[in-house]
Amino acid sequence: MQHADAVSGWERLRRRTRHGDLLFWLIALSFAVLVVGLLVAIIAVTWDGSAAARHEFGFGFLTSSTWNPVKNQYGALPAIYGTVMSSAIALLIAGPIGVMIGVFLAEVSPSRLRMPLSFLVELLAAIPSVVYGMWGVFVFIPFFRTWIATPISERFGDAIPLLAGPVTVGRGMLVAGIILAIMIVPTIAAVSRDVLSVVPTHQREALIALGATRWEVIRHATIPYARAGIIGGMMLGLGRALGETMAATMVIGNTPRIEGSLFAPATTAASLVASQLPNAGSEMHSSALILVALVLFCITLVANSIARLLVWKVQRGSGGKA
């Protein structure tokens, strides 16, 4: 009986995957499994590598703001704060700009401008982050420091702690946020353009029939219809900002301290790991850095899950075309 069952099961598989399909099916399956395996391996390695730090510091690791490799005392709070804050600034700046670009490309732009503009926006996404970092260090920061940060902190620094000086080198949280914003604008713009262009024409026509202006059509028909997708695009951009290493490292000032001012240097989880891991002085030091990586992994996992959920939502909302 058992033997017969096995044969019929095999037959069923064979029938379903005739004409060389079996081979293709197996190859595709193995690659799919490979991705899952890779993810498991990464989690296992970071979990295992951070064992020493997890046992030593426990959950206090997340709330402590000491980072002292000499005394082997580590806490991830400055890195978490820096990561979340710089990404939040980036999203705050890049969100509206990216959506505006998306609206322009999908709704307002004359058709002969649309293609080159889309291309240019996507080209921004292809620039390596080290180039952004270099541009930040050699071009943007000197300009920002002299013409923006110093005057602002001198005028408003006493009243608003967030804008307090001294500006010193100019590298800091706000600069990192701005550079990250430039880096994630293309993602947000491209997704916004895509979701806006699949908004059904009858939605617009209905409003135009009521005598709405172009702005009112965009404001009341297209954007609300594509809202979920736009938010999904922002979350994708946020994901990129959270994990960005090179550009952030070069412009944020890399100081594992929490300072109130946006002009003060800070650090991000990714840049802390990238700059200190290759020359970590002790086992505990590298273990703590791997734990920071694990924490960052959790933060990006949450951000990406939210993005996924929102993309699913927009797929349902716009008839599966997003």
Binding site: P166, V169, S275
Partner: protein, 427 residues
Amino acid sequence: MIGSSHASSRRWKRLLLTVVAIMALTMVVAACGGDDDSTATTSSGTSSTATTATSSESTATEAENEATTEATEEPAATTAAASPTAASSESSPAADWEPRNVSADLTGSGASFPDPIYQAWIEQYKSVAPDTTINYQSVGSGQGKKDFAGNVTDFGGTDAYMTDEEMTASPDALHIPTVLGAVTVVYNLETDQPLQFSGETLAAIFLGTVTTWNDPVIAADNPGVNLPDTPITVVHRSDGSGTTSIFTDYLSKVSTEWADQVGSGTAVEWPVGIGGEKNPGVAAGVQQTPGAIGYVELIYALANDLPAPAIKNAQGNYVEPSIESTSAAAAGALADLPDDLRVSITDPQDGANAYPIAGFTWILVHSEMTDQTKAEALTDFLYWALTTGEAQAAELHYAPLPDEVRDLAIDKLTQVTVNGAAVFEAP
């Protein structure tokens, strides 16, 4: 149908045109930017490498280029070159010594600081022993030590000697010093005379207790210099590095306050200041900020013509960093040199001309090796590097070992064994 396909082909053409236009534009921009970069950073960058000249590995690339060109152009002139060690080359027993041309693959990894000179040596050693292939990857001292201890590599490179704990894990590790590195202070301040510093002053500045340039502590080091009241901005390395290790080790030796509050290591908890990524990150931060002070590798400062202030040594002399004064630091620390050559030579007690912020970089070798051919190839290469190779160190801005230390290093090579039998005999 025809209309739509026509339209789509027109669209493709337009896309193609856009791509071409953008590429042309990018090239123009790159060319203009490239010229600026090459003049700004160093004169040795050609226009084709101008874009890499500003990257974090600028010194590495340039030094390497320089090395390979010199190696190909004048292979015979190597022993005669490099004036500081000319004397040692004459007395060198390497004159009629030939390395065994063993067929072996050697791999090593570790410190990035000596990477340019190691690559130059490896490149040149190919012409001496063509069957021996050597591969060195600059992955950082910490990783280099790990790879070496885990037997992933045949030799390791490190700027920080192995701790006692690490020595218990791999007790047969030999430390073979190759060249010396120094750390120089860089600052950005308009003064009528160049500044100089004592160790205590540097410690106070980097601790944040001295906050303006006209502080009496700085004035005491610089009598007669007109110091402005510009606030001091400290710029330090953000990545873990041997440079930070040497610098903080020096500050710990000259200031008990620093030793208690901060200590030394490849990365420390800086009381004040802002972090820059690698040497270029620190240099850019200092150059862009009036009143800033930082520290970079001497090699980087020399390659980029940064002014390097004199530092007061243990003998009370203010000594400018240079290849000669760095070698003098090693000579000045001879009295404290332990048998295993694991030693920090910052703040050496002897040597009137010793620059006090210097350190060895080592190659790690197992004294008990298992593979005879590898052991022969490795010891021969290192002997060649310590003799012929060492003579070119100064050309690449590396300070060569003083003769006494070089002889001790060669002596270490004779301790390498396979199955209890020595594999190398010094000629």
